[in-house]
């Protein structure tokens, strides 16, 4: 199952500078594990003590996974997964 993963600038040291990479998995956790097997060290940047890092947001097709199962949120073939650092955003 191929998922397209967008990597933020701050984590591209792990992907040799690539903006987007492919990964397999049927849940967010599986996709992150697969990413880590291909790009060493990535998982430690994203996951702390079994949950997503406080300042990391992960979206499957633009939806924040924290509200749809977190690391166990399901991912389907052809989905896009976007990783972004948390920044304040919005009408201020």
């Amino acid at each position: 199952m191929a998922v397209n993963v967008s990597i933020p600038t701050i984590l591209r040291t792990h992907t040799g500078g690539q903006k987007s990479v492919e990964a397999d998995g049927s849940t967010v956790a599986e996709v992150i594990n697969d990413l880590d097997s291909r790009h060493t060290g990535l998982k430690d940047r994203l996951v702390k003590e079994g949950a997503l890092h406080r300042f990391v947001n992960v979206y499957v097709n633009d939806e924040d996974v924290r509200f749809v199962g977190g690391l166990e949120a399901s991912v389907s073939d052809g989905d896009s997964l976007t990783i972004l650092p948390a920044v304040a955003g919005g009408m201020r």
Partner: protein, 316 residues
């Protein structure tokens, strides 16, 4: 009654407008809460005035004081209006990649602008403002990201207005910035109408804005309460622009770009309701009108060109 003793008294009681052309079906209807009808043309008049009044009550804000605030524009404009009427000075810390109109309005109101670097976006403005506050102990930072009066303004105003106008509301969708709107309205609706879905639409900017040096520089506003939200979407500039134009062409509402992102999330939950065979009454918040974004090219040219032009700018 359309007579008021002061501009500040015209705050709130904004129209809730049905969108018959954009609604996904006759059972899944969209309603726009027009916050551009507030005194300075944005939803931010509500928290700005609430924060000032709370600080006056506490005695931290007194005649002749200078207010300091990190803002990407609208809160600054609201504070500038209120500060000029009440006799306070204002210093706004603003990322340099915000629209020209916002800077000009702030300056016209007499505010002083301190620019923070574009890379790092709004959270760098927060960092710079906190440093300035330390250097200038006589300045008063209201700090919209952590000031409970911000969410309170929506708990007391925006939320009750929505429920009064649309007792059968099923979803509330708004932009996620300081998180005050969603947290305040969300808490009110969860209390008064349990089961209402609170949906966040977060702007997804170009890469420049996420230029942190490390992940721990990330920022989650102190007001943020994930328990109030049911879903959260991240919407990029292309979809935000597409929906902003759709709202203008389809329903005649000339909204700012962030509203396009909010409409995108509202339509997403609406389409899911249609697919599930459910009925829905979806309220989404129009934070401001389009006037302050004309210079960004958002309303002309092809969508691709306009989205490219917006890349690297803060459009919400």
């Amino acid at each position: 009654m359309a007579r008021y003793d002061s501009l500040l008294d015209t705050l709130g009681d904004t129209p809730l407008v049905g969108l018959p052309r954009l609604s996904p079906s006759s059972d899944v209807r969209l309603w726009a809460k027009l916050e551009d009808r507030n005194p300075t043309g944005s939803v931010k008049d509500r928290p700005a005035l609430a924060m000032i009044e709370a600080a006056e009550k506490e005695g931290t804000l007194t005649q002749g004081c200078t207010i300091l605030e990190p803002t990407s524009g609208n809160t600054g404009i609201s504070l500038a209006m209120a500060a000029s009427l009440k006799g306070y000075g204002l210093v706004c810390v603003m990322p340099e990649n915000t629209s020209e109109e916002r800077r000009q309005i702030l300056q016209a109101y007499g505010a002083r602008i301190v620019s923070s670097p574009a890379e790092g976006g709004s959270n760098q403005a927060v960092t710079v403002a906190k440093q300035l506050a330390e250097q200038n102990p006589d300045w008063v930072m209201l700090y919209q990201y952590g000031n409970s009066a911000n969410a309170e303004a929506h708990y007391r105003g925006t939320g009750p207005e929505i429920l009064k106008d649309l007792p059968n509301v099923t979803h509330f969708v708004a932009g996620l910035g300081t998180t005050g709107t969603l947290v305040g309205v969300g808490r009110y609706l969860h209390e008064r109408k349990p089961g209402t879905q609170i949906v966040a639409s977060e702007p997804r900017y170009g890469e420049l804005v996420y230029g942190l040096r490390n992940l721990d520089e990330g920022f989650v506003p102190e007001l943020y309460d994930a328990d109030v939200l049911n879903r959260r979407f991240s919407v990029g500039s292309y979809d935000a622009l597409r929906r902003t134009r759709q709202l203008l062409e389809g329903e005649g509402i000339f909204a700012g770009v962030s509203t396009g992102a909010v409409l995108h999330a509202a339509l997403t939950v609406g389409e899911r309701a249609v697919a599930a065979g459910e009925s829905a009454e979806i309220v989404f918040l129009v934070a401001d009108a389009g006037w302050k974004y004309l210079s960004t090219g958002a309303y002309g040219g092809t969508l691709d060109e306009a989205a490219q032009q917006l890349d690297g700018q803060l459009w919400a």
